[in-house]
């Protein structure tokens, strides 16, 4: 895990100079995204999920992963779209993240819901471009880089940003506070 952290913390330029990295590509609303495979613990079929009430739509709920309770994030909703519809190929990708939150370092497994997973591929550093300043459908800070694959661009996600526990918890609190039936958001 230390290795992963070290790699993630490196500036993009340094990372780009390194050997080609492997990425998992997946489809979400007919668009292809990629994430570095070093984050990924496992991929499971969408199964019984327990919804958590009073949470923003992008937090789908929690699942039981061999005795551990793991939150599941609906990426589509997180990107501001509608909730993912469950289909035959819907998967949950379990990623492990180490994040700095107010209480210090936090290691957490998070599941992300995707329409389908495609493949693991290598993208040479030369084919990795910095993210566009605007023009993409998702928040630019969610994009780590753009990877060129067979003439198409895939969005390489910055999972630390996308799945920022701190930010999501804050959003949860705001959603909570805006609802009439709540208290003590502060």
């Amino acid at each position: 895990m230390g290795q992963i952290v070290a790699r993630d913390n490196k500036p993009l330029a340094a990372a780009a100079a390194e050997a080609p990295q492997q990425y998992l590509t997946f489809t979400l609303n007919a668009e292809i995204f990629a994430i570095g495979i070093l984050h990924i613990k496992e991929i499971i079929e969408y199964g019984s999920l327990t919804e958590i009430p009073m949470m923003p739509a992008f937090i789908r709920g929690v699942i039981n992963l061999r005795g551990a309770v793991v939150p599941v994030i609906d990426l589509s909703a997180r990107f501001g779209g509608r909730q993912t519809e469950i289909a035959r190929r819907t998967c949950i990708v379990i990623v492990e993240l180490v994040q700095t939150v107010e209480d210090g370092e936090l290691r957490q497994d998070i599941g992300i819901m995707v329409d389908s997973v495609n493949e693991v591929l290598e993208i040479p550093a030369t084919d990795v471009e910095p993210p566009p300043a605007f023009g993409s459908r998702i928040r630019t800070d969610f994009i780590r880089a753009m990877g060129k694959v067979e003439g198409r661009f895939v969005i390489i996600l910055d999972l630390d940003r996308v799945l920022s526990v701190e930010e999501m918890a804050q959003l949860g609190a705001t959603a909570d506070a805006s609802a009439p039936a709540t208290d003590n958001a502060g």
Binding site: M54, G67, D183, G186
Partner: protein
């Protein structure tokens, strides 16, 4: 450190804790003989144990303390605050000595030793002296006796050790020179006088020139301890008879020595007088007393024979002799206690608990399948099995759980000491002492709690005059409370003092640049500033604490336990620190209910009763419960659960914080023991849900935080009020 010593240190710490608690109790109810006995027993056990592990400095110190306790027990001296204070200090000192032993040092450092001497001196002068035979000088612990009333006469006034040495005949043949031992002995001290005994020498014809017939009586001045002196003779240990009497041994011991040696008693006595160990008068008294004791042979319980044996075998120092009988009993008791205690590695326990957790989930799965199969016999068999599995889980989880009461009780002492030092009158109210939490958490929570308690005493609670002026009772009140709050343990440290000074904190924060000027903060935000590193509003910093100093450490410590600390304060009414710690291992008895497709668990101890929702309840938010108005909340509404509302709904009547309320759910699914799994950081702002648990089916069920739910429901209709509050 060997195993026996480790056990001794651990047990002695426990004894000390018990002793301290009893001493504090004694202060409140002086003269309670049970308490006195308990204190005495603790001290005695420690001394006995120290004898077993041959830790002389603890034996010596504890011995004097025990004497004082003995007098106390016998009513010769009365309990007062000063004595309790000294005894408490003594118990601290013993603890410090245990540290020394634990660290493997042969003797306490000079300053610690000096502290000990000072304490003993206080004990001697204040309470022990003036009791007849005792010497009133303060004797250093290593050689301290002088207070024991012996069976065979008074104390022999000499500062020197007495060593009786008889070399075996084979010593020379084995290539050892008796003189070299004596020479080596001088490296430990000085031989004041030495008498050579040639009594064993046979007539010239029978004498074997290669045999050693010599014996020595040595008067030896040294600051070394007995073990060190004994070590001098280690090489010839098997080949010689060695008797060592510490300085100020009792006359009886000398008498015992005389009797133990092969030479004629009168002749030996003369030699002892000659080497200066005894005076003639002492010898006479001793021998006379000895004869008297022998005459009254019937009543000799702790009389010479026993002493002789112990001295001879060098099991204990002679001071211990008179306590020997009691001690033997104690050792026996301790052995029994050891047998009941098994110390095992925490990892092994964790592995077991993990396995049991899996077993429970697997077992629940089997149950479910059995119930579906409809085979009565299978169902019966699995239900028996699941009951057993549950018992196993309970026992496994209990292994790691300890009550927090022990930790809380430590603060009795802190509150007493600190409040005395500050001249405040403060009572400590402890509640929820039986709340259990994981041992590792208990160990780590002590320091942060200590900080909060000290802070509360020093800065939270005002001096008596200020309290009186504010119309509050002069006696300050500090409360420690613990309770389980689904998924967490909550520990509260609350005082009824002046509260935090909001303005001052805000001002300091601005000065220090923690908050941009002109920025408005909520009360909560302001109060939380005290957890910033180095933040203090105290005008003067006392030696105890400066409110704010170290609060960042408290916060960090608690965070390292994955917990949180919050502070709430009402000006003039007090401050309350709430520490919330996750309790991953906690089990609660839960009541499983269903709403929509999901299962929810209500902590069973909050459930009062269950009933069917009367159809006439309609859309109102209250119902008539046997004439009582019972407000209720619909879980479906509150959690915005989609799906068809069932025809029949049920109400779970819960009670939290003295308030009764109903929770309307679809189904009642029954009692269920659950292992609480915290939901994690992502859901930390979620109110109304305290945690989660995994059902037999593998699904995750949410544990309701009833108190928060009621709160949510109560304030649902008045959102503005809440906004103003928070």
């Amino acid at each position: 450190m060997d195993e026996i010593t480790t056990v001794f240190v651990t047990e002695s710490r426990e004894q000390l804790a018990a002793m301290e608690a009893a001493l504090l109790e004694l202060e409140n109810s002086p003269g309670d003989s049970d308490t006195l006995n308990a204190i005495f027993r603790s001290a005695h056990t420690i001394k006995g144990g120290a004898g077993v592990v041959e830790c002389d400095f603890i034996v010596a110190f504890t011995h004097v303390v025990e004497n004082a306790l003995d007098k106390l027990r016998n009513g010769e001296i009365a309990v007062d605050g000063d004595l309790v204070a000294v005894l408490l200090a003594c118990s601290d000192h013993i603890n410090a000595l245990l540290d020394v032993l634990e660290s493997g040092m042969p003797a306490p450092a000079a300053d610690l030793q000096a502290d000990g001497n000072a304490l003993l001196d206080r004990l001697q002068r204040g309470w022990l002296s003036g009791e007849g035979k005792q010497s009133d000088d303060s004797t250093p612990p290593a050689t301290s006796d002088g207070t024991v009333e012996s069976s065979g006469g008074g104390v022999v006034e000499t500062d020197c050790w007495h060593i009786s040495l008889r070399f075996g005949q084979d010593v020379l043949r084995q290539g050892m020179d008796p003189l070299s031992f004596l020479r080596y002995l001088t490296s430990l001290g000085t031989i004041v006088r030495l008498e050579t005994l040639a009594d064993a020498m046979p007539a010239a014809d029978d004498m074997d020139p290669e045999a050693c017939y010599l014996g020595f009586e040595i008067h030896f001045a040294s600051s070394a301890d007995k073990a060190a002196i004994e070590r001098v003779f280690d090489f010839v240990r098997d080949e010689c008879t060695l008797h060592i009497l510490p300085p100020r041994s009792r006359l009886a011991d000398y008498v015992a020595l005389i009797k133990a040696l092969p030479e004629d008693p009168m002749r030996l006595g003369e030699i002892l007088v000659r080497v200066g160990a005894l005076t003639q008068a002492e010898l006479d008294v001793g021998l006379a007393a000895q004869q008297a004791t022998e005459a009254a042979a019937t009543e000799e319980t702790a009389a010479p024979p026993l002493g002789e044996i112990l001295v001879e075998q060098q099991v204990v120092q002679p001071e211990l002799v008179e306590a020997a009988v009691v001690k033997q009993k104690q050792v026996g008791e301790k052995k029994a206690a050891e047998a009941r205690l098994i110390r095992i590695q925490a990892d092994k326990l964790d592995a077991l608990i993990d396995l049991v957790g899996e077993l429970v989930i697997a077992g629940a799965g089997v149950n479910l399948l059995a119930a579906r199969s409809g085979l009565a016999e299978l169902t019966e068999a699995t239900s028996v099995m699941s009951r057993l599995v549950e018992s196993i889980r309970d026992s496994a989880l209990q292994l790691r759980m300890v009550q927090i009461g022990e930790t809380f009780n430590r603060f009795n002492r802190v509150v007493r000491d600190v409040s005395k030092e500050l001249g405040k009158d403060i009572e400590l109210v402890v509640s929820g002492a039986e709340t259990e939490l994981d041992k590792s958490v208990v160990e780590k929570i002590g320091d942060p709690l200590m900080h909060l308690v000290r802070n509360a005493i020093d800065h939270g609670i005002e001096p008596a005059e200020a309290r009186a002026a504010a119309g509050k009772p002069e006696r300050g009140r500090l409360s420690l409370n613990a309770c389980h709050d689904s998924g967490s343990i909550v520990i509260e440290v609350a005082d009824d003092g002046g509260g935090l000074n909001r303005e001052k904190i805000a001002r300091k924060a601005m000065e220090r640049g923690l908050v941009p000027a002109g920025h408005t903060l909520s009360d909560q935000e302001v109060y939380n500033l005290i957890f910033e590193p180095g933040f203090s509003t105290a005008d003067k910093v006392s030696n105890l604490s400066g409110r704010g100093v170290g609060m960042d450490v408290v916060k960090r410590n608690i965070q390292s336990l994955r917990g949180r600390v919050e502070v709430d304060s009402q000006p003039g009414e007090g401050t309350r620190f709430t520490i919330r710690l996750p309790l991953t291992l906690a089990i609660i008895d839960g009541f499983l209910v269903g709403a929509g497709s999901a299962g929810y668990v209500v902590p069973l101890d909050m459930v009062v009763e269950c009933l069917e929702l009367p159809p006439q309840a309609g859309d109102s938010h209250y119902l008539n419960l046997r004439g009582e108005v019972l407000p209720f909340i619909r879980l479906r509404d509150l959690f915005e659960i989609r799906g068809e509302q069932p025809v029949r709904e049920n109400v779970v009547v819960v009670k939290a914080a003295g308030q009764k309320a109903g929770i309307v759910v679809d189904e009642l699914l029954g009692e269920f023991q659950t292992v609480i799994k915290p939901l994690g950081h992502l859901f930390r702002n979620l109110r109304g849900i305290g945690g989660s648990t995994i059902l037999g089916s593998g699904e995750v069920a949410l544990i309701l935080d009833v108190q928060a739910l009621i709160h949510l429901a109560a304030h649902r209709d008045e959102p503005n009020a809440i906004l103003n509050r928070s």
